[in-house]
Every structure is written in structure tokens, then in C-alpha cells.
Amino acid sequence: MSGELRTMNYEQRTLRSVRVAIFFLSLVIGAFAALAGRCFYLQYFKNGYFLDVCLKQQEGLLPLKPQRGVILDCRGRVLAASNKIHTIFAEPRVIKDPKSTSTDLASIVDMGAHEICKLIMDGKNPGFVKIKADADVNQCSAAGKIYGVGVWSDWLRLYPMGYLAAHVVGFTSVDNRGLGGIELQYDKEIRGSAAEDVFLADVYRRPVRPKQQNGILADGVGIILTLDTTIQEFAREALIKQYKDYQAESAIAIVAEPKSGAILALVSLPDFDPADARSTDPNNFRNRAITDQFEPGSIIKPVVAAIAVDAGVVNKVEKIFCENGSYSGKGFGRIGEYRQGFGDLTVREILINSSNIGMAKIGQRVGRDRLYEGLALFGFGRKAGIDLPGEADGLLRPAREWTGYSVTRVPFGQEISVTAIQLLRAFCILANGGHAVRPYLVKAMVGNEGQIIKLKQPTPPVGYVIKPEVARWIVTDAMVGVVNEGTGKRAKLEKWQVFGKTGTANIARSDQKGYSEDDYIASFVAGAPVEDPAIIVLVSIRKPNKRLGKGYTGGAVAAPVAAEIVEKALTYLEKRGGGDW
């Protein structure tokens, strides 16, 4: 009996154990089945969603900004270049304890903790507050480890020469877009093309696999100018001294190679520092050598004389009666001289003495149509075509609008409006034997590997604006006479024979008719050596202060500046061994 009872109890316990086991096994199977179902659901139904989340987490995007191309002078000196700078910034919206972050950061960036805290708390942008610009590698590395602090890298445009060639080089905006000068004119070539690097990153955001690149990264091309910064410095130094001494409103100086039209120097005052363009008076951005139009006055006389001799209406030896200082007639009013009156003068003497009446009579002989055509051939009334933005056309009214006044006034530089670059071109034509030239600044464009993309080839002379013998005579005889005997004596040099012409132009009144008696533009154009002109220099100073009593004429104000530039430039070019434009 007891044996049967034991057996029955054992069977009951066994059955209970099996049931418990089955129960727990069912739970386990059920759990696994649920997991399997969940896996199936995630993998099949939610695949797309989690793939997106995964890609967003794993993908990294790195914008690749191209390096802006360099701008060099003809000797390879850097005028403008870009360099990468690293900026340490804070992200206020994720910083829970600004004081603690500031304390950690203070020792790294060598700034006061209080100052950093103030920047973080007062920052208008909750995502970016600049703490330190141009940080070094160690500072960046240490700062990046602090939560809420990051490092931003960007290109910074640098101008090592500062004021020196500001108007030629131009300047850029904060987002590296050209806003003036060569920076603007060739912005498309200089700025390069950006790209985006897409890669896969690990949990620490380290790139582990490339994915794709959107766009092609290409750094900007380099630009080599015809400018020589040594000559530019000579020009600026001489000009700025006179500009300040005479308290002038503005001044310009241009130096060019007459055979090719290559610009060796171009100075416009007042100028600015391209690195500090944001705090500059916007008026200073004007490149007055190409934007400012003015009545040139007597400085244009050699051009008109050349047109007249070339047309055969006057010859080199005949004398023209200059009415002893007062010339009037029907249709052209009364013309006087600046100083004394003259009797009979040759064309050479008219230029040496800068006789207005002599030029008026020459203009009458040439006639309206030929005079207009001649001036148009010399490039007046249209852009010179220099590769800088903002060039003005000047004003040469069509011949049909000319009156008797025009035919007599234009020859001595009134009723015509020119820019300095147009004047310079005209004298380059005279100096190089009558060949047309176009002033230019860009010598070559160079790619990132040093390959030449574009090279300005010297163009062979084709055709003449005026006959070579006429041009030679005007330069070697008449304009040399101006410097040796006439109004340009202050441009005389010992070592080289300089040729030139002065100009003292009245400035028209803005409030009423007629010209101001106090405001002048003093100009001088010079070239040397006369045997084979290597350079042409144009200096123009607007509104020298007459009340200082130091003079106001082209011969007094502008000629000494031109002489100084010519002397220094030729000495330098001699030592340098000439140029290959």
C-alpha cells in the first residue's frame, strides 16, 4: 500500500514538473517568436525609415571651399592671396554652464574668462559666437575637446602690400567675392569652384569611407599683372607727398610702357587698405584714373597738333599769328591766353608756350570733321578697354553737334571730357611712333599646377593712327622743347632727355555757367628717354590749394612729381635690365 502511494506521488510530481517546464518553455518560445516578429516588422516594414536614420547618423558632409587665386605683380610679388584661418567658436544653445566653459576656454585662447562668458551670454546667434579668430593648431585641438565649442575653418583674403596697389587689386567681401579692381574683373576665374565631400563616419564622426563628391573642387587661377610694385611704390610715394603738400582733393599717376600699353603703375589718391575695406569711406574706392572724367586743358595740345600736321593743314615751319593775346570772331567768341600774348609762332612754339589762340587757329584749319575723327582715332570718347571695372567713356560730342566754339575750344582741351587712361593711351600712341595700343594690366593667368592658361602676347603693330614721322617730330622736337624751354622745365632730368606737356585746366562751376577761378586740375605727361621711349608717366592733381601760394599749374605741381617718377623708374629699369611685356 505504501509503495503504491509513493509511486502515485512521484507520478504526480513528475507531471507537475512537466507542466511547469512546458509553461516556461512556451514563454520562452513565445518571447522568441515575438522577437522574430519584431525583427521581421523592423526589417520589412520599417526598413526605409531606419535606413534614412542610419544614413543621417553615419553620413558626413564636408563643404570644400576652393582657395581663391593669387594676384601677383610682374616680378612675382604677392599682391593678394588667400590663407586658411581657424576660428574657435561657441554654440550657446548647447552650453549649459557658460561660466565653466569660459573658464576651461580661457587658458586655451589666452583671453579672460569673463570676456568669453560675456561673448557667449550676449551672442545674438545661438548657434555661433566667435571666440577667437586665427587660432593656432594647438589651441584648436584643445578647444575642440570642450563640449559646446567648435573650430571653423575658412579662407581669409590677405593683401601684404596694403595701400600700395589698392585700386588695381581691389578687395573682397566677407564671403570672398570680388568687389573692386582685378578681384571683381576676374572674379569668376579667381574664385574657383566649390564641391562637397560626402563620406561615412563612425560614432566619433571620424570619416571611415568615402561615399561621393558633389561637384569638382578647383582652386582659383592666379593672375600675373604687368604692374611692377617697385615702380608703383615710386609713383605712390612721389604723388602722395605732393597731394598732401598741396592739400589737393585727389590725385592720380599712371606709368605705362608705350610700345605695348602695359601698365607699370597706377595710383589713385585718396586710396585705402583692401584688408580694411569695410571701414573705408566709399568715395575712396573710386579708381579716379579710369572713372573720373575731366576737361584736360592744354595737355591735349600735342595730340591736336599731331592731327593737324598729319592732315597737312599746318607744317612744322610755318608761323601762325597768335593775335597778341586776344582773338575773337563771329561764331567763337573771345579767346585769351593764360599769361602773356604772342605774335607769330610755329607749331613747335605754340606747344612750348602753350598758346590757346595758336591752337584755336590750328583747330579752325583742321575743321570740325577731321578734328573729331582724329580725336576719335586717338581713342577719346570711348573706353580705353583696360581690364578694370567701372571705366568711363569720356565725352567727345559727335561732330554734328559741334559749333564754332567747339572747333576753337577743343584744341586746347575744353568742350571735351577725358579720363586719365585715355590721355595716357593717346601719348603712348605719340611715343611709339603712331601705332594704336590698348592699355592693359593682366599679363598672364596661371593654373594651380603652374601651367599658363592665358598669356598676353605682344601684338605686332598694325596700321597707324598718325604717320610715324609726325609722331616722332611731335615727341622729339615739340614736346622736348616744352621740357627744355617751355612750361615743363621742372621735369628736366640730367641723365635722360624727357619730353612732356603741361596742362592747367579750369574746373567748370557746378552751380553756374563758366569756370571756377580757384579750382584747377594740374597735369603733366612725361616720357623718356626721347631716343626710344621706355615709359610714359601721367600725373594729374585735382584742386591743389591755390591759397597756399605755391602755385597751381601743371608745371609747378605735377611736373616735379612726373620727373621724380621717371627718374626713379628708369634707374630701376636700367638695373633690372628692361622688361619683357
Partner: protein
């Protein structure tokens, strides 16, 4: 008694191979990251050299020399 040692050895080798395979799987990523770091460093050094050159240019350009001569 040899049986447990052989079993342990097989399991050990198998585990080692699996670990090595997992390590190799990430080798490409490590190499890519190393390459990326080296390229970044090279770029940084180039920029540093360029910065030195620009500093030198700002010291020896005609404007700077003229200013120093004037002083």
C-alpha cells in the same frame, strides 16, 4: 583528458579567427581615416608654409621697405 584541451584549443582558435576577421573588416575604414588625417595634416602644413611666405612678403615688399627706410 586530451579531449578538453583540444576542444578548448579549437574554440580558442575559432574565436581568434572571428575576432581577427572582425578586425580586418574595419581595416579599410581605419586606412581611409588615416589617409584622410594625413591629407588634412599635409594641407595644414602647406597653409602654414604659405602663411610664412605671406608674412615674409609683407616684410620685403617695396611699400614695407620704403616705410622702414623713411623711418
Amino acid at each position: 583528458m586530451r579531449f578538453p584541451f583540444r576542444f578548448v584549443f579549437v574554440v580558442f582558435c575559432f574565436a581568434a579567427i572571428l575576432i581577427f576577421a572582425a578586425y580586418l573588416r574595419g581595416a579599410g575604414n581605419r586606412v581611409f581615416y588615416k589617409l584622410w588625417s594625413i591629407n588634412t595634416e599635409e594641407s595644414r602644413l602647406k597653409q602654414q608654409l604659405w602663411q610664412k611666405q605671406l608674412q615674409l612678403e609683407s616684410l620685403i615688399n617695396p611699400a614695407a621697405i620704403s616705410e622702414r627706410l623713411g623711418e
